[in-house]
Amino acid sequence: MKTSISEVSAKANVREAQVKADRPAGANTKNLLVELLVEELPPKALKKLGESFAESIKASLRAQGLMAKEGAVTAYASPRRLAVHVADVAAQAEEKLISQKLMPVAVGLDANGQATPALLKKLASIGADTSLVPQLKRAQDGKVEALFFDSVVNGATLAEGLQKALEDALAKLPIPKMMTYQLADGWSSVQFVRPAHGVVALHGAEIVPVSVLGLQAGRATQGHRFEAASATLDIRDADSYAAQLENEGAVIPSFEKRRDEIVRQLAAAAVQAGGGVRPIVDDALLDEVTALVERPNVLIGQFEKEFLEVPQECLILTMKANQKYFPLLDSDGRLTNKFLIVSNIRPADASLVIGGNERVVRPRLADAKFFFDQDRKKTLESRVEKLGNVVYHNKLGTQLQRTERVAMLAGTIARLLDADKADAELAARLAKADLLTDMVGEFPELQGIMGRYYALHDGEDKVVADAIEAHYHPRFAGDTLPQGTIACAVALADKLETLLGIYGIGQIPTGEKDPFGLRRHALGILRILVETPLDLPLHALIKTAAANFPDGMLSATVASDVEGFMLDRLRGYLRERDFEVSHIEAVLCILNGRMHEVLPRLQGVRTFAALEVAKDLAAANKRVLNIMRKNCEELGAELTGAAVKPALLKEAAERDLHQAMQDIAPFAQGYLDRGDYGQNLKVLVTLKPFIDDFFEKVMVMCEDSELRLNRAALLQQLGKLMNQVADISKLAA
């Protein structure tokens, strides 16, 4: 008996099995092409929309047994189309064996094995009658035996399957905002990201009869809005799609290929511009322009040289962010007055496009120049008081109050680092003044960068000016660190103030939510301390930062809370650098806030852990610690700091261990002082046989209390010696 798959699978208690597993696509497979033609899609979302569309269609076809497991999938995405080419798609999925549970045997059959009325009713509901009873199978279903009806159903046809796949794909598209538009019938309205104008669905050369968004699939699409040879384009078959669009439609449908073409044209145009210039590399900008054009045409534009007086960061930002142009840099990395335009249009007279774009960019550059000239009429110093009018946070006061706290802390840190306290305080004081300039008001991304330019213009010291810019660093993962002690002092102070303040008023990051970027600030502090490296104990820094806030402004436990928060960030940061969790824990145990030592210690532990004997020594160490913990409970204060009395060392094994310890201690200390942590640990390995011997032959908890205390003291000294770099016991399996 054959039923359509959609009927059967809709019912409960159906088990499906591919009749011939792993052979979904039979010999008569063809390639499939689906295209949705739409109006210009939102450029920032295009790449994701294209990937999602292709991925959903593939997943759905595969789930329905219409395509081979390894079938090749090619995604296309341009401003006006989402499309996908899928290789080896079957016209119909394989038959499926369906095993449908009807009811428990006890209910379906009476004592004589005859069908009960309940079973007959059930059979009628699936279009069968009593003649089917002998074919029913009995099988265990949980604890009861049940009646099953096995049947073979036809697989979905491609038209059915693609219909479903398309509907799935459209429903799953990550659409930023829906639009409502009217269909050609003039009555019905449809909701989609942008109005859709056509669907192409071809299996080989045949149209697959599907319909979505009120559109019936066909083979007609449109090429480039302005450049196509004819208004519509009939796609011959699935495989000719990309080539036809390129040759006849003047469209490069593949996102990647179009992007590559832009890169190629940018490079060629740079050569044409001459003088060894090169375009700025910016992947995000490349993606964006790729989403804005169907066929790129890169042209060279230029602006008046006088604008180059404006800091190049401003001009570059204006051109990139506002105009989507690629600024050209000379071989020294200095901005030139030429830039590259990625146009979607290719008129015979390119000067129309170039002139038009130059007219668009000129007023923006003039704005930037105006801001720069205006801003320089007032010094940064004269703006600082105005920060008193800017609320930083209603619980933390004004920007001026915050600036004062940062300056105080920066001064303290600078003094600890043997740097000029006054320089650090001045840099911190001026660091936020550029927020009140017109340029930073217009381009917030230039904060700090403008501060540096304006400080230099005001005649401030270069060290101070550099620190003003650098105090925002690192701004993101992988960003450069502030260079020089003054810059580090201000950067640390600024980040610590933010972290303590915001954390202290209860704005603690949770899950995805971290509106003040506290994780980033914490990581910034750690990176500066660890990677610079700077010998500043973390808990002291945190305490000092907390003490700068007025009494009662922050929660009472803020210092220890923030330290815990930072240590968690530190663990994550170290794991990202491929250190093992046990190594990290071993080092953090005894690190005591000395962030500048964390990397060399971890490297030492890593070298040590690679040694054959490391595990044994760790195990021995764990044993020492366990005994000591026990002894501490029993001996209490008596043990604390007790020195080993050599005269009381009765057994040879304990004398030998003591001697061995005495022998290596100066070397271990020497390596430690030099920061050679791997060598320190390696020397300890020589103790291993003595420790083993000691545990084998010596009874620590003996009757004689004097001996007992002395042996405990020996172990305590051993523990201390072994755990200078890290808590080695943490490495034990």
């Binding site: 210009e40 409502t180 105009q323 989507k324 923006r364």
Partner: protein
């Protein structure tokens, strides 16, 4: 999403008492296309709402209107500008339709198409009173430009409260982005 509604004749292109009946008669006002590019770059979707009673009067047909708009879209593309959609009313006064400005049908339709509950604060730029009235009635921000019939409109007075006046589209856009 940022949206802006522009009238066409007298705002984007020079107006004509004799109607714009073919592509050759459509000539952009200097700076207007660049202003649209600037709006696009600032993230605005630019929508045109225009009365085209020339169709109702039989002065031009749909194919011709499409040809005119093709020219407009292409001219925009040259400076990297893009008009997202053109809404037009083909009726004459005698049709008593809901869409012909100063009626608000066309603007309501725009709000619905873009999934906006209302047009609160959406800039609507025009050169005549009938462009500004429906905008003001729907809570949009009316902008009068002095190109096209703008001068006469300003002299006649009676502008909706809060109307902002600028010399042309470029000047209006400069304050928006």
């Amino acid at each position: 999403m940022k949206l802006i509604i522009l009238d066409r004749d007298g705002v984007i292109n020079y107006d004509s008492e004799q109607f714009i009946k073919k592509p050759e008669e459509w000539k952009p006002i200097p700076g207007s296309l660049e202003a649209i590019a600037r709006l696009n770059q600032a993230g605005y979707r630019v929508v045109v709402a225009t009365n085209q009673s020339g169709i109702g009067r039989g002065l031009l047909d749909m194919a011709m209107l499409n040809a005119i708009h093709s020219k407009m879209h292409k001219a925009c593309a040259l400076v990297g500008a893009r008009i997202d959609a053109v809404f037009f009313c083909p009726h004459t006064n005698d049709n008593d339709c809901d869409c012909r400005k100063p009626k608000s049908g066309m603007l309501e339709e725009i709000a619905a198409r873009y999934g906006l509950g209302n047009l609160d604060g959406v800039p609507a730029v025009g050169d005549s009173l009938r462009d500004l009235q429906p905008a003001a009635a729907l809570g949009a921000q009316p902008y009068l430009v002095l190109t096209g019939k703008g001068m006469k409109t300003q002299e006649a007075g009676g502008l909706p409260e809060g109307t902002l006046v600028f010399s042309d589209l470029a000047a209006a856009v400069a304050t928006l982005v």
